[in-house]
């Protein structure tokens, strides 16, 4: 029941928002903020009851409907793979809402309603254990994000939002077919039941793997399916970018873990080298394209392609270091890239530009902003002591010794991404903060306000926390990954 309350609590805020008059903008903002903060509190309550070694915790399984005569259940549960995603979601939504405080002035009500529906949708994605239910939540997240970009976005918002929807839909349709095929063949849509009865669809494993992977790869995004991402990011409002990068991309990586690895372990083992190569291309290609951008937000968007490449490499290393590191890196990317988009939004609100050529020398003018942004950038660059390092190191060392990948070359090539990350991130620092102030309009910029500090400080605290003491996070992740990998390892044994 805990999980039902958690998932649908944001809708309570939606109900209240519906009742408020359109001119009560501040009241609406407070309602949304408090709702999301309470949701965060609820997720901590769930965390307090969570037992990492206990597999699926707090499961709730209710009969729901029948599809092609196969029972569909309303089935939620939480384990070591999903709990950090849930916490990341509930932690970031209040920050995203707070970041939109002044930026969103038009149709505030609709904006906040979509935001809270989006939160419910994402929580549902991370908690659903019935495939049909998962699919419903998966599609549910699409609608509010479509409107967030399409209504509150920049100049080319219509193009970007349609592109976002079309890309995502084309992948998820394949997934829907695969889900129906699974249900009809195995007589159940429940992920744990399907896991236990893999022999019923073993013949089609690779096809099913590909169908699910299509949906998730677009979301991650994996090269070459990434071109919707920069457009969506550049057009999305700041709060939308935060959610898109920090949370929605994680839905793709999470899907790989929950469905591809768990349901199709043999196909996963066989596909691992291909997935790893795509991941590595993403790392190197994303970093190189990021380096060439003239717009800060685009640079950060392409950096996501590179970072998620690391995550995918870790996942398809298919060993403890790689997968657990990958999950931690999902959190890290959420925190660091979320913070980057947040701070890019802050400077955009002041200058109405994101072009590097309009910045330079800002450290002198707005030292607090600059100092924090440099910390966040360094965390993205994987500097030890900050969050990015532990995940990246764990992924690379895992991939290096991965038996499934079978060669240290994968990790060896991927490690050059560490150098390339420094290349584009230090370029960003230099163009924005160092050198003389070349744009006189920037001389009168104001440093961060209390509200802005309230959004960025929690993220910076987590950046240091994971960097200095990541063990509590690994304690949540490790047992679930061990269980998952037992399955994969026995599959690998069968293959060899």
């Amino acid at each position: 029941m805990e999980l039902v309350i958690l998932t649908f609590f944001p809708l309570v805020g939606v109900l209240i928002l519906v009742l408020l008059a359109p001119q009560q903008k501040n009241a609406m903002r407070y309602v949304a903020l408090i709702t999301s903060l309470l949701t965060f509190g609820l997720s901590l309550w769930v965390l307090s009851k969570f037992n990492p070694a206990g597999g699926i915790n707090m499961a709730i399984e209710l009969p729901w409907l029948r599809l092609a005569n196969v029972p569909v259940e309303f089935y939620l549960g939480i384990d070591g793979i999903s709990i950090l995603m849930v916490l990341l979601t509930t932690f970031l939504i209040p920050i995203a809402i707070l970041s939109s405080w002044n930026a969103i002035q038009e149709q505030v009500k609709g904006f906040l309603i979509f935001f809270l529906i989006l939160e419910t949708g994402m929580l549902g994605v991370f908690l659903a254990l019935d495939l049909v239910l998962f699919y419903v939540f998966w599609e549910l997240t699409l609608i509010p994000m479509y409107f967030l970009i399409g209504i509150w976005g920049g100049e080319r918002r219509i193009y970007a939002s349609i592109k976002f929807v079309l890309f995502t839909m084309s992948g998820s349709l394949l997934m829907l077919l695969a889900i129906l095929f699974l249900g009809i063949n195995a007589g159940s849509f429940s992920q744990p039941t399907l896991m236990a009865n893999r022999q019923l669809f073993a013949g089609a494993e690779m096809l099913l793997f590909i169908a699910f992977a299509a949906a998730f790869a677009i979301k991650v995004p994996i090269f070459p399916l990434h071109t919707w991402l920069p457009d969506a990011h550049v057009e999305a409002p700041t709060s939308g970018s935060i959610v898109l990068a920090a949370l929605m991309l994680k839905m793709g990586a999470y899907g790989f873990l929950r469905f591809n690895l768990a349901l199709f372990p043999e196909a996963s083992v066989r596909a691992a080298p291909v997935m790893a190569i795509l991941a590595i291309i993403g790392i190197l290609y994303g970093a190189s394209v990021a380096f060439m951008q003239k717009d800060v937000k685009k640079l950060v968007a392409y950096s996501s392609v590179a970072h998620l490449g690391f995550v995918m490499l870790g996942i398809f290393a298919l060993n403890q270091e790689g997968v657990a590191g990958g999950i931690l890196q999902m959190v890290n990317h959420g925190i660091s890239t979320g913070a980057l988009f947040l701070m890019v939004g802050m400077i955009y609100e002041r200058t109405h530009t994101r072009e590097f050529s309009k910045f330079g020398g800002l450290w002198k003018v707005i030292p607090v902003y600059s100092g924090l942004m440099i910390v966040v950038t360094l965390s993205s660059a994987g500097l030890p002591g900050l969050n990015g390092f532990v995940g990246e190191f764990s992924i690379l060392i895992g991939a290096f010794g991965s038996k499934v990948l079978g060669s240290p070359w994968f990790a060896g090539v991927a490690t050059t991404g560490v150098v390339l990350a420094a290349v584009y991130l230090l370029k960003m620092i230099e163009k924005m903060f160092l050198g003389p102030v070349t744009n006189e309009a920037n001389l009168s910029l104001k440093d961060l306000s209390a509200r802005e500090l309230a959004t960025i400080i929690p993220l910076v605290v987590v950046i240091f926390w994971i960097g200095i003491y990541p063990q509590p996070f690994f304690n949540l992740i490790n047992p679930a990954v061990e269980q998952l990998l037992q399955l994969v390892q026995s599959a690998a044994m069968v293959l060899h």
Binding site: V136, E139, F291, N319, P384, P408, L426, E430, L434, G435
Partner: protein, 663 residues
């Protein structure tokens, strides 16, 4: 030799975390209260923090006298995942404590010096508010360096390794709005960070290899088992040590990754002295000494190390001869001296490497800080000159030696300490540098004749370029108005110089032939070969140095440079060769042509034709294809998303209602 159980540990060892936490305290105090406390207090707090760290190192030295085998002092578990089990423990042994002592001693003196130096520098650069930031970064550097040298496993070592790199980046670009075009300092910092990161790539690969070969990253699990693992995996040790060497060439500025260090001189002079001469750049030498067991199992790698070091020593010394910037000469000299240390490791003479590391820390810090004293003095004189004449006085480059001359009389203390530094660097007996350099050259004499010749040749050039520098800076007549107005610096600056000069004079006692204190000290931690004092070698290197100084005098002393615009006498006789050397053999340009330019082109190709053109074109093309197949499809597509989304919304609402009714 290996770590004992912590149960029988002398409680004195437990103070070791303070080497990190005292500087951290310094940062916190300065960060929270510094603004109210004022400059003097900020500098004092920062210096006390490092001084305290030095005292802690002394306590550890004392504790090790009774327990020389050393201990690992655990602090916390960092993380466990799969086979990775990483904790933060402090390794206290004779090797790490030598590093702590050297870093903290030199560090304290440089911090004190910086109290005065940065006060003036900050005014000169026009932003006194950065004074506090400077000392916070400096303390942060000490923290990172202490984590590096006290690490008990390769990952914590890497943490410190990256940490010092960050501080180096922040401090090279400390005056980030200054330098050529207002951006040169910042770009120098970036260049340093990226170049060393290329080396770090190698170090990371070495760490991965170690982990999968030994199942651990803890020194205590690795070094005792090298023989056994090497027997099972031939070639593995070679791979590990060569990849590690790549990291060393980055951090310790060796060929081919040395190119960042000369540019790093853009940092304030105390930074050049502390980070880019005395301590951080020696981290690579420390790493290889620490990993001696691995190198001993890979003789081929040792050979490579030896050649890299020796060639770097000679190559950088050649470039130093033709530089005019007082700090650039010292920078190339640092690269060259680091080459000696690296070569020593390759020769299996780790003790000699450590010995030279310590004495070099003294005399190179001395030389840099003294050059800072000169630079400040010239800057001050320039400003006074400008006020005196009421006009904008000629703005000269205060680091260009051609703009100096005759400073011996104007700055006597600086002159004498500089002379001590220069002579000890040149290897003149009985100063510290003579003994430490001689030990390396003697080791080469025992092992490899060509290396011996290369190192002696580098020693010749060393004495020559230092002779040239002394003569250009301190002798002859003042070649600019600023040089004629120069005055001696304040005691806050000169006293640390005098202390460093004394250390440079007596530092040889650390491993004086016959006593060999350092050697006996280190043999508890690493394998040492008894080094013997070879009188012929000593006489050769001493006379070579004296001849070089004599030649320098013949060229630069007898007939000093007349004007700041006069040509260097060497340039007159060598012509194009001198220009080429002065332009550092155009290696930067070569790297730009070979690597940076092509990468930028490739990235641009990816970003524009490939990403926006081809890949995105396919996606959009699919859409356009659809829309062009017919108007009916066009219509459908126009309303497609909205109607589709609407139907989904409707569907979900129905499902939700259905769900609520069912539940």
């Amino acid at each position: 030799m290996f770590l004992s159980e912590t149960t029988s540990m002398d409680p004195l060892f437990l103070v070791v975390p303070l080497v990190v936490f005292l500087p951290l305290l310094g940062i916190l105090v300065n960060w929270l209260f510094g603004k109210r406390l004022g400059e003097k207090a900020i500098g004092t707090i920062a210096s006390l923090a490092v001084g305290g760290s030095f005292v802690v190192s002394l306590i550890l030295l004392f504790a090790l006298r009774t327990d020389p085998q050393g201990f690992s002092v655990p602090l916390m578990q960092w993380f466990t995942v799969g086979g990775l089990d990483i904790s933060w423990s402090f390794r206290v042994d004779t090797l790490s404590v030598v590093m702590m002592l050297a870093v903290n001693l030199v560090g304290t003196l440089i911090h004190i010096y910086a109290i005065g130096y940065m006060h003036e520098d900050a005014i000169h650069q026009g932003d006194p508010t950065r004074y506090r930031r400077f000392f916070i970064f400096m303390n942060l550097f000490i923290i990172a360096m202490m984590i590096l040298v006290s690490a008990d496993n390769f990952l914590m070592l890497f943490v410190g390794w990256e940490g010092v790199g960050l501080c180096s980046y922040l401090l090279i670009g400390f005056w980030f709005d200054k330098g050529e075009g207002g951006i040169a300092n910042a770009q120098a910092g970036k260049k340093a960070f990226i170049t060393t990161r290329i080396g770090d790539f190698g170090l990371l690969i070495a760490i991965f290899l170690i982990f999968w070969a030994f199942g651990s990253l803890n020194f205590g699990d690795i070094f005792p088992r090298v023989g056994e693992v090497a027997a099972n995996h031939p070639g593995l040790m070679l791979a590990i040590t060569l990849f590690m060497l790549m990291g060393v060439t980055g951090k310790s500025a060796q060929i081919p990754l040395y190119v960042w260090l000369p540019d790093a001189m853009a940092g304030p002079t105390p930074v050049s002295a502390l980070i880019h001469a005395a301590t951080m750049v020696t981290a690579g030498v420390y790493l290889m000494t620490r990993s001696q067991a691995l190198y001993l199992a890979a003789p081929a790698a040792q050979n490579v190390v030896m050649w890299v070091g020796a060639i770097t020593a000679l190559f950088a010394a050649i470039i130093a001869v033709a530089q005019f910037d007082i700090k650039k000469v010292l920078a190339y000299s640092t690269i060259s001296q680091l080459g000696y240390m690296v070569a020593a490791v390759g020769l299996g003479a780790e003790t000699a490497a450590m010995f030279h590391l310590v004495t070099h820390a003294f005399f190179k810090a001395l030389l840099f800080l003294s050059s800072g004293s000169i630079i400040l003095s010239l800057e001050r004189a320039m400003e006074e000159g400008a006020q005196g004449s009421g006009s904008h006085a000629t703005n000269i480059d205060p680091q260009d030696m051609r703009n100096m001359g005759g400073l011996r009389k104007k700055m006597p203390t600086t002159f004498w300490v500089y002379l001590v530094g220069a002579l000890t660097l040149s290897g003149i007996a009985p100063l510290a540098g003579f003994f430490s350099k001689d030990e390396i050259i003697a080791a080469a004499n025992n092992t490899n004749g060509i290396i011996f010749v290369v190192l002696v040749a580098a020693a010749f050039l060393t004495a020559f370029y230092m002779g040239r520098q002394i003569l250009m800076v301190f002798f002859g007549k003042a070649r600019t108005k600023a040089a004629s107005l120069a005055k001696e610096s304040a005691p806050l600056i000169t006293v640390p110089l005098i202390i460093l000069a004394l250390l440079s004079i007596v530092g040889g006692a650390i491993n004086f032939p016959g006593w060999l204190n350092l050697e006996h000290w280190l043999e508890h931690t690493i394998k040492v070969h008894e080094s013997t004092f070879q009188l012929p070698v000593a006489l050769i290197s001493l006379s070579i140095a004296l001849i070089a100084i004599l030649i320098a005098w013949l060229i630069y002393g007898r007939k000093p440079l007349a004007e700041s615009t006069s040509k260097d006498p060497l340039a007159r006789s060598l012509g194009g060769v001198f220009t080429l050397v002065n332009q550092k053999f155009k290696v930067d340009e070569l790297y730009h042509f070979l690597f940076i330019g092509p990468y930028e082109k490739l990235a641009d190709f990816f970003a524009h034709p490939v990403d926006q053109g081809f890949i995105d074109g396919i996606a959009n093309g699919l859409g356009n294809l659809a829309s062009e197949t017919g108007s009916w499809l066009r219509k459908l597509q126009n309303g497609f998303v909205r109607s589709y989304v609407l139907s989904i919304v409707a569907g979900i609402v129905i499902i939700l209602i259905y769900l609520l009714v069912r539940v």
